[in-house]
C-alpha cells in the first residue's frame, strides 16, 4: 500500500522520560491504519523551514485494534496513532514542542512492518529492544496479544526504563536490563535472552545489539526479525539514501522494503 501525505492534528504530547516524548495524533479515517513496525515521516515545521528533511519515527501504538475498548469523543470512536521518540536534534526537538491541537505533516504509513501473519496461538515470541528501539515493539506486543500470543519482553536501557507499564496487559514475562544497574538486571539484554526458548525473536535497538541477538538466534535456529534504522530523505523508496546490503548482495531500501527484515537477510 503506497504511503499518503496528509496533515494530522495532535491529540496529546507528553514527556515520559528525559528527552523521550510520546506524541499521539488523530489518524484520518481515509488513511489505512499503520501496523506494528511501520513508521511515518513527521514534519512539525514548514516545508521551507529547517531542517530540510522530515523525520522518520516508528509507530508505537495504533488504536484501536481488535479487542481494544473504543475511545469516543462526542459519540464518535477515535483513531489514534502514537509515536515514541527521543530528542536527538533540531527535528525531533520541534516534534517535542508540539501541543494538543497543533498540526503536523505526516507521510505514511511507510515500510513493511513485522509480519505476524500465520503465527499460531501459542507461538513463543520474544520482543528484544534497546533504548528508543523499544518504541515499535509495543504495537507488536499489542498485535500479538490480539492474536492470542503473549510475547516475553527483554528491554535494555542505559539507566531509567520508560513506558514499561502498558506491557502488564499485553506481554508475558517482562525483563529489564540497564547499563547502570539502577533498575533490573545490571548488564545487557543479550545476557538474559535464551533464543532456544522461542520460535520467533523480534528485535529493535542499536545495531550492535541487533547483530548480537541475530547471531544468537542463528546459532539456535530461532527466526529473528530486526527493524533497521537509517537516515532517510524521502521515506518512500524514491531517493535510495537508506539502502542496506542484503545477503544476496542486492540493495534494499530500509524505508520501503524494511525497516523490518529477516535478520538472515541483512546481517551475516
Amino acid at each position: 500500500m503506497p504511503a499518503r501525505c496528509f496533515d494530522a492534528q495532535v491529540f496529546s504530547r507528553t514527556q515520559v522520560a528525559p528527552a523521550i516524548h510520546r506524541l499521539t495524533v488523530r489518524w484520518p479515517e481515509t488513511v489505512p491504519m499503520p501496523h506494528a513496525g511501520q513508521f511515518c515521516m513527521l514534519r512539525a515545521w514548514g516545508r521551507d523551514e529547517a531542517p530540510l528533511l522530515s523525520r522518520p519515527i516508528s509507530v508505537h501504538e495504533a488504536y484501536p485494534i481488535s479487542g481494544d475498548e473504543p475511545i469516543c469523543e462526542n459519540g464518535q470512536p477515535l483513531q489514534l496513532v502514537t509515536f515514541l521518540f527521543e530528542v536527538k536534534g533540531r527535528g525531533t526537538d520541534c516534534l517535542a514542542k508540539l501541543e494538543a491541537g497543533d498540526t503536523l505533516q505526516i507521510t505514511g504509513p511507510a515500510g513493511n512492518g513485522f509480519d505476524f501473519s500465520g503465527l499460531a496461538e501459542g507461538t513463543r515470541v520474544a520482543l528484544v529492544g534497546g533504548g528508543i528501539g523499544t518504541a515499535p515493539l509495543y504495537q507488536a506486543a499489542r498485535e500479538l496479544a490480539a492474536m492470542g500470543i503473549r510475547a516475553d519482553v527483554y528491554y535494555g536501557f542505559r539507566d531509567e526504563p520508560y513506558e514499561m507499564e502498558p506491557y502488564r496487559h499485553t506481554a508475558g514475562v517482562v525483563r529489564v536490563a540497564t547499563d547502570s544497574g539502577r533498575v533490573g538486571f545490571h548488564g545487557f539484554v543479550t545476557q538474559m535472552l535464551k533464543p532456544e526458548q522461542y520460535d520467533l525473536v523480534v528485535c529493535c535497538g542499536p545495531e550492535v545489539m541487533m547483530r548480537r541477538v541475530a547471531a544468537m538466534c542463528a546459532q539456535q535456529n530461532t527466526r529473528c526479525l530486526v527493524s533497521l534504522e537509517k537516515k532517510m530523505a524521502c521515506g518512500i523508496g524514491a531517493c535510495l539514501g537508506c539502502t542496506c546490503k542484503t545477503a544476496s548482495g542486492e540493495g534494499k531500501s530500509v524505508c520501503k522494503h524494511g525497516p523490518v527484515f529477516d535478520a538472515k537477510e541483512v546481517f551475516e
Partner: protein, 308 residues
C-alpha cells in the same frame, strides 16, 4: 485557470514541472500522493546499462537549506528498467500527457550508446543523458567538465538516439556557456541544468570525510541562486537553438517562475519532493495562481522576459 501546457521537443506537456531524476523514484512511489497527470514529466532514477549497487557508507547529509547525497547511481540496469519499472511508470501515467524521461548515466561511451539504443527501442519519450553525476568516477562527470569530452559522448550517443536527446549538465563544467554550446553543436535537442554541486563534509568524531568518496553532490534551496545564474548563462549561450530545462533548488512556484523568466522552457523539481511530497503538484498550482493573479495566460508570454 491559465494555460500551463508546455511544448517541448514535439510533445505537449500538461505542465512546466518535471520531477527530477533520483528524487521521484519511478513515479509509482508518489502515485498515491501526487496527481501525476499535472506534471510535465517524470525522470527515472539515473540508469546505467548494467545494474549498480551504488555507494557504500553514508549516502545522505543535511546541510543548511540543502542535502548532500552520495547515492552513486544505484539502479537495476537499463534492461531491468525496461522490463519492470518502465511498464509500471507507463501504467501510473496512463491517460495523462506526462512525459517519461529516462535518465541515462554511463561508464564508458559504449555503455551510453547501448543503453540509449535500448531505451529508445523501448519507446521512452525523452532520453536525458547524465554527463554530470558527481558520485561515480565514471558516472558521467568525467564528461561534464570539459566541452571537448562532452562533445565526444553527446555526438556518439546522438547517432544511436532515435528519441529527443536532453543533455543534463553539471555545474562543475569549466565554462557553462561553452559547455552548453558544445552539447548543442554535438546534437543535443535540449539541455537540462544543473545537476548537484560537488561538496564535502567531515565527521569530527571520526576525523574523516563523511562520504566514502570524500566528495558528494549538494542540492536543495542552497544552490538555487547559483543554478539560476547558470541557466541564465546557458540560455544566452544557446541563443534559442534548443530549449533549456532549469533546475536546482526549486521549491516554490516563485522559484520556478524565476527560471522561466530567465528563459527556461520548463523546470525540474528534485530535493523539494523530500521536504514536501506534494511539491511538484503544489509548485504547478502556485505557478498557475501567479499567472492568474498577473493576467498571464501562457508561459510563452513571460519566458525569458527578464533578459529584456
Amino acid at each position: 485557470m491559465s494555460n500551463l501546457h508546455v511544448s517541448l521537443l514535439g510533445k505537449t506537456l500538461p505542465g512546466p514541472v518535471i520531477a527530477a531524476s533520483g528524487t521521484f523514484g519511478y513515479g509509482v512511489e508518489y502515485g498515491e500522493i501526487v496527481d501525476l497527470g499535472v506534471l510535465g514529466g517524470v525522470c527515472s532514477k539515473g540508469l546505467t546499462l548494467n545494474p549498480k549497487y551504488g555507494n557504500e557508507g553514508e549516502r545522505l547529509l543535511e546541510t543548511p537549506s540543502g542535502l548532500i547525497n552520495s547515492i552513486g547511481l544505484q539502479n537495476p540496469g537499463v534492461r531491468h528498467f525496461i522490463d519492470n519499472e518502465l511498464p509500471a511508470m507507463r501504467q501510473a501515467l496512463a491517460g495523462t500527457g506526462t512525459a517519461i524521461l529516462a535518465n541515462l548515466g554511463g561508464g564508458c561511451i559504449e555503455d551510453y550508446e547501448e543503453g540509449c539504443e535500448l531505451l529508445c527501442q523501448a519507446g521512452v519519450d525523452f532520453v536525458e543523458l547524465n554527463i554530470s553525476c558527481p558520485n561515480v568516477k565514471h558516472g558521467g562527470i568525467a564528461y561534464g567538465v570539459k566541452p571537448e569530452s562532452a562533445k565526444e559522448v553527446v555526438s556518439r550517443v546522438r547517432r544511436v538516439c532515435s528519441r529527443p536527446l536532453i543533455v543534463k549538465m553539471s555545474p562543475q563544467a569549466e565554462d557553462i556557456g561553452r559547455m552548453a554550446a558544445a552539447c548543442v553543436e554535438a546534437g543535443a535537442d535540449a539541455l537540462s541544468l544543473v545537476n548537484t554541486f560537488q561538496a564535502c563534509a567531515i565527521d569530527l568524531e571520526k576525523r574523516r570525510p563523511v562520504f566514502n568518496n570524500i566528495f558528494a553532490g549538494l542540492s536543495g534551496p542552497a544552490v538555487r541562486p547559483i543554478a539560476l545564474r547558470m541557466v541564465w548563462q546557458a540560455v544566452g549561450a544557446v541563443d534559442g537553438a534548443v530549449p533549456v530545462i532549469g533546475l536546482g533548488g526549486i521549491a516554490s512556484g516563485e522559484d520556478a517562475l524565476q527560471f522561466i523568466m530567465a528563459g527556461a522552457a520548463a523546470v525540474q523539481v528534485g530535493t523539494a519532493n523530500f521536504a514536501d511530497p506534494h511539491a511538484c503538484q503544489r509548485i504547478t498550482r502556485e505557478i498557475d495562481q501567479w499567472m492568474d493573479a498577473h493576467g498571464v495566460n501562457s508561459l510563452d508570454e513571460i519566458r525569458g522576459c527578464a533578459r529584456g
